[in-house]
């Protein structure tokens, strides 16, 4: 399987009144074609920022370093106009809140059609045809009637489908879905996830699913990457992650999930607070809350292959210790 997307040492910082905020720190990972990759972490861990950096949608105050290779192209070097042409065409993004993702004054069908005309040389009638087809594909009943509706006439679930329809209009190779189901009811959630899964099956679309919901991850992801405070701490196939999480943060995250065996009234929480990204702790950013913290944790642990498919960035791991030795080149992630 070929690598569709490869990140190397991606770093994103923002210039703010309070100094430089390091939102993403030295993240390297790769995603294969046709894979559904889950990017997990709590709010503020940098996963959305990372996705926005890929798309080139960060504000001017952001500074992005590193390398992002997509289908052989170096995205961070592309001039803005070239990047724009990729967006909506070969890479699409789905935002979290369907209630605010659509232009309130524009008919929903038109919003789908304009994605098509922006990137393909077709006339309006053809675009409309295709848009209608897409509305049907994402499960909008009576697409003809709904085409001219303004967004406020549609429910949240419907709007999210419109958003998905626009994202898929030009059959992108990569879809970045940022919390696509968080704002929706559970039943609608399931339908949306089915849609995404169907996409991958039919069109070999690669999906990066950003979420903080481990349940969603369990349902549809192939592999999972775990982020904490801007750092990528663990990457593994989904079954592995649930069965044997290696990184202390991942372990704590999974332990915090309420289970049936638990004594009522006891919730396992992770003590401590998320670090201030304007002044992050040196080295591993989880070190301030980690039950196994050691002195060496003040140096950033490199991400290394514990097994062929399981990567971890923690000084507890032999692989990391190996990779951290001076005679090794800085470890990057490989699939």
């Amino acid at each position: 399987m070929t690598d569709l997307l490869g990140l190397e040492h991606v770093d994103v910082g923002f210039a703010t009144e309070d100094g430089r905020v390091s939102a993403v720190s030295d993240v390297s990972l790769s995603v294969s074609e046709g894979e559904i990759f889950g990017l997990v972490g709590e709010s503020g861990c940098g996963k959305t920022t990372l996705a926005m950096a890929l798309m080139g949608l960060l504000p001017a105050t952001a500074h992005v370093a590193g390398s992002v290779r997509f289908q052989g192209l170096e995205l961070l070097d592309l001039p803005p106009e070239e990047l724009r042409k990729l967006r909506g065409d070969r890479i699409s993004m789905i935002f979290q809140d369907p209630m605010t993702s659509l232009d309130p004054t524009f008919p929903v069908g038109e919003q789908v059609a304009e994605t098509i005309t922006a990137h393909r040389d077709v006339n309006d009638a053809r675009a409309r045809e295709r848009a209608l087809g897409l509305l049907g594909e994402v499960g909008i009943p009576e697409p003809e009637r709904r085409f001219g509706d303004a967004p406020h006439r549609l429910s949240g679930g419907m709007r999210q489908r419109i958003v998905i329809a626009t994202a898929l209009a030009n059959e992108p190779a990569l879809v970045l879905a940022d919390e696509p189901t968080t704002a929706l009811d559970v039943t609608i959630q399931a339908q949306v996830l089915d849609l995404l899964r169907d996409l991958r099956t039919r069109l070999q679309t690669t999906i990066v699913l950003i979420t903080h919901d481990l349940g969603v991850v369990a349902q549809i992801c192939d592999r999972v990457g775990v982020m904490y405070a801007g750092q990528l701490v663990e990457v593994a196939p989904v079954a592995e992650i649930f069965r044997s999480p290696r990184h202390p943060y991942t372990q704590a995250l999974l332990a915090a999930l309420p289970t049936q065996q638990q004594v009522p009234g006891s919730l396992r929480v992770i003590p401590g607070r998320v670090p201030n990204l304007a002044d992050p702790p040196p080295g591993c950013r989880f070190s301030t809350r980690c039950p196994y913290v050691m002195d060496v944790c003040a140096t950033v642990p490199p991400l290394a292959h514990e097994t062929d498919e399981h990567l971890i960035a923690c000084w507890l791991s032999e692989a990391t210790k190996q990779a951290g030795r001076p005679d090794h080149a800085t470890a990057g992630g490989a699939a």
């Binding site: 798309m55 949608l57 724009r84 042409k85 990729l86 967006r87 909506g88 065409d89 699409s92 993004m93 935002f95 809140d97 605010t100 993702s101 659509l102 232009d103 309130p104 004054t105 524009f106 304009e114 994605t115 922006a118 990137h119 303004a150 406020h152 958003v163 626009t166 994202a167």
Partner: protein, 319 residues
């Protein structure tokens, strides 16, 4: 009836009580004058006979309600009373003066919008050099008093360079070129401040819209920035911009009083002012009422346009 039509009708009906209340206020004006209005009108030389004659003429000796109803009835027939000095029907005076004020307002607002909106959009969409320049313009436009600017313009163009007349007026139909020559300076004086205000409103509304999620999503879809700004952002930013334009239009209709006086333009504003100085209350009443009603109608029209622009109003969401 469709929800939208219902909305329109409802707004129209709401305007009626406002107009009626306005007419009551205007009607009461003459009665609120301290002392005897007729005495004041006629001045010192009035004899008691004159006073009672005029009072009877104006119907001021009848009960208040009867007076109001007669007056209101007269209004509906187009009878605004008579200028007691020249005995010209007030409606004639108004018919002569209104077009002047309207032309002044129309030209000024058109210029202000033509300058203010595009600059405001540009300043919001492309912060940088444009924004700095517009910032200065906005500050100057808001701080500088319009009639002072008018006087300065007169100093420059009529006093020093002598290329334009300092005051006066010729109807458009009689001599379009001269008409415009007389109007350039007053229009510039008014438009400067209005353009600054409209620019600021446009810039603010656009900035707010450009920060929304749906604009971000449009960028994520790879839509060209130009299209985003003009077909999406502007459409969404339009309501407050149009509202301000509408209100300012109404304000100019009634508020260009000073400019009209300054440039000796025979408009309604100037009529009202001179009538006040002459204690010509009947004319003042007519003038104020007409301008007030126009203002209410313009505000109403603006509301309707804004409602039409935003599809959400159908549901009765917007007031």
């Amino acid at each position: 009836m469709s929800p939208r039509a219902r909305y329109v009708v409802r707004r129209l009906l709401l305007a009626i009580p406002v107009i009626v209340a306005m007419s009551i206020f205007v009607f009461l004006m003459i009665h609120l004058v301290p002392g005897d209005p007729v005495q004041t009108m006629l001045g010192f030389r009035a004899t008691p006979e004159n006073v009672s004659t005029v009072r009877a003429q104006l119907g001021l000796d009848r009960p208040l309600l009867a007076q109001y109803l007669t007056w209101a009835g007269g209004l509906l027939h187009g009878n605004f009373g008579q200028d007691f000095i020249s005995h010209t029907p007030v409606s004639t005076l108004l018919a002569q003066r209104l077009p002047v004020t309207i032309e002044l307002t129309l030209l000024s607002m058109t210029l202000a919008v033509a300058v203010g909106v595009p600059l405001g959009v540009r300043a919001a969409a492309r912060p940088g050099a444009v924004r700095q320049a517009t910032e200065g313009f906005v500050v100057a436009g808001i701080a500088i008093t319009d009639f002072w600017l008018g006087i300065m313009l007169v100093l420059l163009f009529a006093g020093i360079w002598q290329v334009l007349p300092p005051s006066g007026y010729v109807p458009f139909l009689k001599d379009p070129v001269a008409n415009l020559r007389y109007l350039i300076l007053p229009v510039l004086a008014l438009a400067f401040g209005e353009a600054a205000y409209i620019l600021r409103t446009t810039r603010g509304a656009m900035e707010e819209v450009l920060g929304t999620q749906y604009i971000l999503f449009l960028r994520a879809k790879g839509i060209a920035e130009r299209r985003i700004v003009y077909r999406h952002a502007l459409r969404n930013a339009a309501p407050p911009i149009v509202t301000v334009i509408g209100i300012q239009f109404g304000v100019l209709l009634g508020g260009a009083i000073v400019i009209e006086s300054l440039f000796a333009l025979p408009g309604v504003g100037r009529l009202i002012v001179t009538s006040i100085q002459q204690r010509n209350y009947v004319v003042v009443q007519g003038g104020v009422l007409v301008v007030a009603v126009l203002f209410i109608l313009v505000t109403l029209a603006t509301d309707l346009v804004v409602g039409w622009l935003d599809p959400r109003t159908e549901e009765g969401a917007a007031t």
